[in-house]
Amino acid sequence: MASIVFLSIIMLSVAVALYSRRGHAHQDSRDFFVASGQFGGLLVFVLAVGETYSIGSILGFPAAAYGQGTSFVLWFLGYIVLAYPLGYFVNPLIWQAGRRCGALTIADLFRVHFASPALERIVVVNAILFLLPFGELQFAGLLNVLEEFHWNVPPLMLTGGAAIVTFAWLMLSGIRAPAYVSIIKDSLVVIAVILVGVAAVRTMGGLHAPPAGLPGHDRLGTQDQIYAMSTILLQAMGFCVAPQTVAFLFTARSGRTVRRNQIVMPLYMLMFPFLYLVAVYARVVGLPLPSANAVFMASAHALLPGWAVGIVAAACALSALVILAGTCLTLGPLVSHNLLHGLSDNQQRRGAQFVIALYLVFSIVAASHLSGLMVALTSMYYLGVSQMVPGMAAVIWRRTPAPAAIGAGLVVGGAVAVVLFLAGVRPGGLNAGLVGLLVNLATITVAQGLARMRTARA
């Protein structure tokens, strides 16, 4: 029964992708990547929310709450919820800058605003490097979910099938497909999380204080508190300037739409208490788990009837595929539009589709050999992405420091953050990315000063 419900929902998603093509069968590249900036409130909302609640959040949050407790929960929820009010003020400005620069990607903003193709390339390389592991992670999460069905199918076929569904969505109608599918996905995620969460509470006999020994009973030391605070700050800023966030903002019809959406977004986070309760349940009943990542699906299996497990699994799978599609649509134009200059509009779209196909194959292969490098790159995502904050600040507030200064800051700040992270060093308990960002700002100040001196002499 679970398999039938699951497969029906996946097929429904393809039908919805087909529907989203209505009236947009002949797309130019702007329509393919950013829906010609025509999306209203609902579609921008589901795209943005879809990006936030990945399969990593649904499976990963209860797993980490189960294993690491309060120290993880605080920074993880803190940065997402702070990113919304920050985005309330910043996102309409990014949208406006996008219109001003005629931008399709985040790299366009840098090229046009700073009149620097070199800076554009630095931003592209930075974005691609840190986006690379996203596809693999979605496939790894998907395999985790599909294991629950005990199908006698090799993993490579399962991930291959998922890649074909994603590619089919994108070929049908570009960004419109994941946006429309997100409507089903976001509704299903709420249903799935509430179903498992409520069942967990009922089985525990209500909301009682968790037994001693449960993660979360530990007090946070000063170093943990500094780390949580600095991580929330860094990642909330990084969240607003992430290449996918920027790409989704460009799909919006107006800055007002973007701003109004931010108000409701934190309320969608109200599913996290249910996810937390699932972790508490798994601890209280001593649920046997093959791995920590299995907390959510194993709890669903233990608590719900077959049809409901099918819904839960479909919600998780669609979450993975929507993020995968969003990542593909961010990466594709970064290569075909920003790296390979001089292509015609049609060539850019075709080129991006080729890059997307290549990326899907790469992610499938990477997922079957989950490498240490990819796992490290994922952990470093915000370290790298947040180094674009000073440049983005200059773009949205229309300041024009020397592009070389912004580029130098990005490279030096990113390098410092990565080296500190790999060495496991947290100066004063601070997140390595925030230290990198401070070095980034210092580099910009020095480089800008030198540029001014050179201009004054000349």
């Binding site: 929820l77 919820v81 702070l82 508190q225 605070m229 931010q262 109200l270």
Partner: protein, 82 residues
């Protein structure tokens, strides 16, 4: 000159900026980031949640409320001027 007008009609963007950011971003920032040193050391629980975790859940509603206040009192009437 910076003056608050209770949000009744923020005609000057410069005058409106201060309280908008203080309410819309400043309050959530204090509740989320600055509260950590006060909550991190406690072992209190609310229902099945440790107090810091429960507080973070409350911040979802608080953040939404702060943005809604700024929107209702000011930004609803603004165009796409950021």
């Amino acid at each position: 000159m910076e003056k608050e007008n209770g949000g009744a009609g923020l005609r000057e963007p410069a005058a409106g900026q201060g309280w908008r950011v203080a309410v819309g971003l400043g309050v959530p920032f204090c509740a989320i980031v600055l509260a950590i040193p006060f909550l991190g050391g406690t072992r209190m629980t609310v229902a099945a949640f440790p107090l810091p975790v429960f507080w973070m859940f409350c911040c979802f509603i608080l953040a939404s409320l702060c943005m809604a206040i700024v929107w209702t009192l000011s930004d609803r009437r603004r165009g796409d001027d950021g």
